[in-house]
């Protein structure tokens, strides 16, 4: 195989094709011209001010703002931001526990960059690191495994968080660690399943929605079938979407077309990578390493607890909770540490600019909640859009 970097035209240059082709400006504008009157017709027929569509995934929220789709359509479509930001629902106890471990001489806590700016009960992991704690930011869990290999005298804990998209990567990393006998590598697994999360959100607020844009990359793992309950139980159109502007516009178009025909079904706009049954190898890895187990508390999800996972017993020797114990006092008041409005935003019941703290007490420099901190948080999306509009 030739080294692509040495050839005149890099082999992977065409990869951009899968991005650029789905950003075509003319086509996007033509779609906006189609969507607008359709949304107006549907709203008028149903006596609504606007058609309310929830984008479940925080990545979609940011695409809607970044490419001006939100701004172009907000007078006819109410974009309701969903719970799809795993950092935003992370229990604060988890961060506090990681800070505690990272402060030990003989431990290193590794995690994704998204998690290190989220407040625990006191310090964030970033602040703890500045004060000398052993915190490593990684792009991949495989880097944390490498750190464990390179530091045999330290226990390395990977804080494994994220939806179903990320679960296979941590599961496969743990399988490698076990196979290779890297005994000083452990997982603190606080993954969260999209299906129970969606169930919690819809049980509270389905009546305020006319349709949902489904998460594309979660779905490449779990497939489109698990969402059937949305159409069946709630009578709402659900369209799994890619992440480029044309993907989202086409998905909106498909939702409106269903509404016009009086249908409610699961459709797959992201067929170039999502199938009905998902990725078999990824699902097998998840099922081998994790099992569903209630967690005490998730931020904002209405007290719903049965949406988390723990490591299967087979992996007890790599389970950080079992090996090192939870040594922080679980604080029942932790709910109150961020304003109650955060919970309403996570559930799609409050739009960030309508929050009394937004851009007042709560800013990017002084965030009151994780929604303003995380790259995928709805409040951060609104905040950045506002900053762009005024500069």
């Amino acid at each position: 195989m030739n080294d692509p970097a040495g050839s005149a035209r890099p082999v992977g240059a065409d990869a951009i094709r899968f991005v650029d082709d789905f950003r075509d400006r003319e086509l996007s504008l033509a779609l906006v011209d189609r969507i607008r009157p359709a949304a107006q017709r549907i709203a008028a027929e149903r006596g609504l001010e606007r058609v309310a569509v929830m984008e479940v995934c925080g990545g979609h929220t940011h695409t809607l703002f970044r490419f001006g789709i939100h701004q172009a359509l907000r007078d006819v479509i109410e974009f309701v931001h969903g719970p799809g930001c795993p950092v935003c629902v992370l229990p604060r106890d988890v961060i506090a526990q990681c800070v505690s471990w990272a402060q030990r001489e003989d431990m290193i806590v590794a995690t994704f960059g998204d998690a290190i700016r989220v407040p625990g009960h006191g310090l964030t992991l970033q602040q703890a690191r500045a004060a000398g704690a052993n915190v490593q930011v990684v792009y991949s869990p495989l880097e944390a495994l490498e750190t464990a290999r390179e530091n045999p005298d330290k226990n390395v804990v990977f804080l494994a968080l994220g939806f179903d998209t990320t679960m296979p990567s941590t599961a496969l990393t743990l399988l490698t660690a076990k196979e290779q006998g890297v005994t000083n590598f452990s997982l603190y697994a606080v993954h969260i399943g999209i299906i129970p999360t969606l169930q919690a959100v819809l049980a509270e607020g389905a009546q305020y929605l006319q349709g949902l844009i489904g998460p594309g990359h979660v779905s490449m793992v779990i497939g489109s079938q698990p969402y059937e309950f949305v159409a069946r139980d709630y009578g709402l159109p659900f369209v799994i979407s890619g992440f480029e502007p044309l993907d989202l516009l086409q998905s909106l178009n498909m939702i409106l077309a269903q509404l016009e025909r009086g249908e409610a079904k699961v459709e797959n706009q992201y067929a170039r990578t999502v199938t009905s049954s998902g990725n078999a190898a990824a699902l097998a890895a998840i099922n081998r390493v994790f099992r569903p187990e209630p967690r005490s508390f998730w931020q904002g999800l209405g007290g719903q607890t049965d949406i988390g996972y723990v490591l299967s017993d087979e992996f007890a020797e790599h389970d950080a909770e079992k090996r090192f114990g939870i040594d922080i006092a679980t604080d029942p008041l932790s709910v109150a540490e961020q304003p109650p409005e955060c919970d309403q935003v996570i559930m799609g019941r409050l739009s960030p600019p309508d929050c009394p703290h937004f851009n007042k007490g709560c800013t990017q420099d002084h965030p009151l909640g994780a929604l303003m901190v995380s790259n995928e948080g709805a409040c951060a999306a609104w905040y950045h859009a506002g900053a762009m509009a005024t500069t």
Binding site: F112, L142, T165, T166, H217, L256
Partner: protein
């Protein structure tokens, strides 16, 4: 968190790993989730994948990508001006998962 980037697999390495290229950036990825049923990992060379946190999570079906774009072109060409026309179906028959 769920960000994934398209890349093309250019070389198969040891231990279920592969070299993938995005733009001008070449990187190693874990290919466990996209290994072909035949077991012959060489079949992956030239395939497009979506890479998430160092793992090739799924293949990208180029034909489906073209179908999606073609459908959009058709839809726009079909009825460019009439605002009151009902929306076409959005191609659910083509795009529905198989």
């Amino acid at each position: 968190m769920c960000l994934a980037v398209p890349a093309q697999i250019v070389e198969i390495l040891d231990n279920g790993r592969a070299r993938a290229v995005t733009g001008e950036v070449s990187h190693e990825v874990d290919a466990t989730c996209v290994l072909p049923e035949s077991g012959d990992s060489q079949e992956l060379v030239g395939e497009w994948v979506l890479v998430h946190v160092g793992f090739a999570m799924n293949l990208i079906d180029e034909q489906e990508a073209r179908s999606t774009l073609a459908l959009l072109d058709e839809m726009i060409a079909f009825n460019p001006d009439e605002e009151s026309a009902p929306l076409p179906s959005g191609g659910s028959t083509i795009l529905e998962p198989s």
